[in-house]
Amino acid sequence: MIVINNLQKTFGRNEVLKGINLNIRDGVITAVLGPNGSGKTTLIKSILGMVVPGGGSIEMNGKSIHNDWRYRNQIGYLPQIARFPENLKMKELIRMIKDIRRSEGRVEPLAETFDLKHAMDKPLRHLSGGTRQKVNILLAFMFGSPNYILDEPTAGLDPLSLIRFKELLITEKNKGKAILLTTHIVSLVEELADDVIFLLEGNIFFSGSVDELKSKYGSQKLEHSIANILSGRHA
């Protein structure tokens, strides 16, 4: 459970977040949508403590994250770009993250699911982009954290891995985890998201379910509803 109150952030003169209020509930997949530059990444980075907010508060499971770093052991984060130390082997990277988290996690079942076992002894620089993304998924999910933050999680995944990833998300959701997801892939949102947040120029333009979004912006297809919002902005 993540509660965000009046979150603000300015880079130079550029107001990126203009007072965001948001609840990321347990047992729910929340999708954050919005065009490029709408503040999605800044929102995620604020929750992760990578960006220092200019105002407002963020609470995770009832505690403020301000000036803390330990709260991050309650987050599994899946970054957009998978770049690893190139001379480490996959199993060494996994060992490293285990060391840092002080926890063993569950590597085996996930490595099985995503067909990573054969690559454990390979240096990370030899892995393909898709495989790296699967390693990323493994690292994010192996500790069963109560909150997940996923930034464009499906980039580069093959169809089979994509199906398995969706199944994994549903399983975690049913375990009562809070899941925050950003993506540009509309079908993924339709399939998975319970709550949809639409960011526009640093404000929450819409917040509700997928069906509400569709009926409010007049289209059977989510894709077209989103297009309506975006073109309406320019009209």
Binding site: K45, W69, I100
Partner: protein, 268 residues
């Protein structure tokens, strides 16, 4: 909450070392020093002369390599740093771990690359062992100092090209430009007493400091140069070396401290 968590920093250091000690660059640096030092000892036949030549290379090359690798490593591990930043770690643990990981890996290449040939040629028996050790220590200082400076520049500038450019300029400044300006001022103001000025100017250049440190020990007045002579005159050999050592330590501590301040405030 404890403000410093060395265990986490050591973990980052350990895995940075794992990664770096397998890098081609680390082997290249090691092999260069190995071949160069062997060659020098083979051709000069005189350990003390070889030491002077070594010194001239080390004073230029160690800062250059630390500068280049510092910026290269910092920028290339930026995305991975973002993954680490999302883990339950203090920011300072991550970046100090990286700093010490890189400094140690460069130091290792340098130590082995120069140490193996000298050990092979029996430096122990020549009575030059202390001079060699002092040269080695100066080289280590320069590695840590210039890695720190390039990390400091790299965290400050988001743009890779800018970061590289400024880092290399800092090296160029201390290796060449600084001495040029220094000599010029000495020439222009030659009718004034400049000893103290020269002494202070030397403290502000880590490369000059390292040179003075070695020269004081070698005690070859012909090679000591003006600043070395000034150090000798004002402070004597013992005190001069202590001042030079202390200043070199400050040259490590201050940039790294400022670096950690930047790390704490930065938006990644």
């Amino acid at each position: 909450m404890r403000t410093f968590y060395p265990a986490d920093m050591l973990k980052i250091l350990k895995y940075s070392l794992f990664d770096l000690t397998r890098s081609r660059w680390t082997y290249g640096y090691f092999l260069f020093y190995l071949i160069f030092t062997f060659g020098l000892l083979y051709f000069s036949n005189d350990v003390s002369k070889a030491l002077i030549s070594m010194m001239n290379i080390i004073l230029i090359l160690n800062p250059l390599i630390a500068t280049l690798f510092g910026a290269l490593y910092f920028y290339s591990s930026k995305e991975f740093a973002e993954l680490l930043l999302a883990l339950p770690l203090k920011r300072s643990s991550i970046f100090l771990g990286k700093y010490f990981g890189l400094s140690l890996s460069l130091s290792l290449s340098y130590l082995l690359g120069t140490g193996i040939p000298f050990a092979f040629y029996g430096i122990q028996a020549t009575g030059q062992i202390w001079n060699f050790l002092l040269l080695t220590i100066a080289g280590l200082f320069l590695t840590f100092i210039f890695t720190g400076l390039s990390f400091l520049v790299s965290i400050r500038f988001e743009n890779t090209i800018k970061g590289f450019g400024i880092s290399i300029f800092i090296w160029l400044f201390f290796a060449i430009i600084y001495d040029g300006i220094f000599l010029l001022t000495l020439l222009i103001f030659e009718q004034y007493p400049l000893d103290k000025y020269a002494l202070i100017m030397t403290l502000f250049n880590p490369i000059d400091l390292s040179r003075v440190l070695i020269m004081l020990k070698l005690d070859i007045s012909a090679l000591m140069g003006y600043t070395g002579a000034v150090f000798n005159k004002f402070l004597g050999t013992g005190m001069g070396m202590i001042v030079a050592f202390g200043s070199l330590v400050i040259w490590i501590v201050v940039p790294v401290f400022v670096f950690t301040r930047f790390v704490k405030k930065k938006d990644f």
